[in-house]
């Protein structure tokens, strides 16, 4: 794989310390025995030294003072983890689990387990007439209505949080 690589790339990997031990030995041998490799190596080492000796630019003398003056006007924002209460997260989780379990218990309680017939299933689906199923009874149930209302409120709350975060990010960027 490495043999197909450009010699300059291989030498840069060697200089940067990214070559494998085997590749490192190969490069060292090549640099010692081959004049062309040696010349290239010297050339790259010079570039490396120049880059290492390059200077950083410095801002104005007042820079730190300016930043600190701006910062003095600010109140540091609390960490996200400090204002997201884990109990609320667990509470929401527990609520949904209870909701699912409640529906399952309610559903199974409606099944007539004593029905006998050819079917091996506790419910004889062949006798179920979908046209006669009255969904209005289910949605007129007070408990179901209450659960649905809570879900809608939670949904709106999450949507509001989502837009608030988006707005915050947008304001920070601008």
């Amino acid at each position: 794989m490495n043999m197909k690589q450009n010699p300059e790339e291989r030498l840069w990997d060697y200089i940067d310390g990214l070559s494998s031990p085997q590749e490192k030995t190969t490069i060292e041998q090549l640099v010692q025995s081959d004049a062309e490799w040696k010349a290239k190596y010297q050339e790259l080492i010079e570039v490396q030294q120049l880059l290492q000796s390059s200077e950083l630019e410095a801002p104005s003398m007042r820079f730190t003072k300016n930043v600190m003056e701006e910062i003095a006007k600010l109140h540091i924002a609390p960490a996200t983890k400090s204002y997201i209460n884990k109990r609320i997260i667990w509470g929401i989780g527990a609520f949904f689990i209870t909701l699912i379990v409640g529906f399952l218990v309610y559903g199974f309680a409606q099944v007539d387990w004593t029905v006998q017939g050819d079917s091996k299933l506790p419910v004889d689906f062949s006798k179920v007439d979908l046209a006669k199923v009255d969904l209005s009874k289910m949605f007129n149930n007070d408990w179901v209505n209450a659960f649905m209302m809570i879900n809608v409120i939670l949904g709106l709350f999450l949507l509001d949080r989502f837009f608030a975060n988006k707005r915050k990010k947008f304001t920070e960027e601008s």
């Binding site: 880059l51 200077e55 801002p59 104005s60 701006e70 996200t80 920070e172």
Partner: protein, 193 residues
């Protein structure tokens, strides 16, 4: 002052309410941040304004710094995003390989003047001038690797790209820098040999 403390100690002090401890971090990283910002903005006034903005953003976001990476890596991520936003706002082009020619044209125009000055330039100033002629992407990767003390993996995290891509970008950036130095600072490069 807080200069003897390491980054994490300074951050803890800031988070516990010692606002002045932040000056230690600003003093420590201002040159790195300013140099990187200058690679994007190409002028000192804008670079100073952007750098100031970066340190204010970092201060606001400091409570969310989890210490999973070095503070410098985290800070340079803010540098990168802030500078890109700045360029977008100013509707400047992020100089890619194609528009590098713009620099070459601009450079050839003042090459006569440069020829006289080149003799006086130190080797360090020569490298800095050559870096300035590179595209923003090339200049940024070189600055992060050689001056920002970042590994390829850390640079990858800052730029949001793969480490292998950073490696390729670094190879190409160095090759182009070498070319620039040979073209524009031929006399000085010869003197160094």
């Amino acid at each position: 002052m807080s200069t003897g403390l390491n980054d994490n100690e300074l951050i803890s002090k800031v988070l516990s309410g010692d606002q002045q401890a932040y000056a230690g971090l600003v003093n420590r990283y201002q040159n790195y941040v300013f140099t990187l910002a200058l690679r994007f903005t190409k002028n000192r006034e804008d670079a100073e304004e952007v750098s100031q903005d970066i340190f204010i953003k970092a201060y606001r976001a400091l409570p969310d710094f989890r210490g999973a990476s070095k503070f410098s890596t985290w800070l340079y991520t803010i540098v990168n995003t802030t500078c890109i936003t700045f360029l977008r706002k100013k509707r400047l082009e992020v100089h890619s390989l194609d528009n590098e020619k713009v620099f070459e044209v601009a450079d050839s125009q003042d090459s006569g003047m440069k020829a006289n000055l080149v003799e006086q330039k130190s080797r360090m100033a020569m490298v800095n001038d050559a870096i300035k002629m590179l595209s923003t992407d090339d200049a940024e990767v070189i600055t992060l690797f050689y001056k920002g003390e970042q590994t390829l993996e850390e640079i990858a995290r800052i730029l949001g790209i793969e480490a292998n891509t950073v490696k390729v970008r670094l190879h190409r950036a160095r090759a182009r820098l070498k070319e620039k130095m040979e073209t524009h600072f031929a006399h000085e490069v010869k003197d160094l040999n």
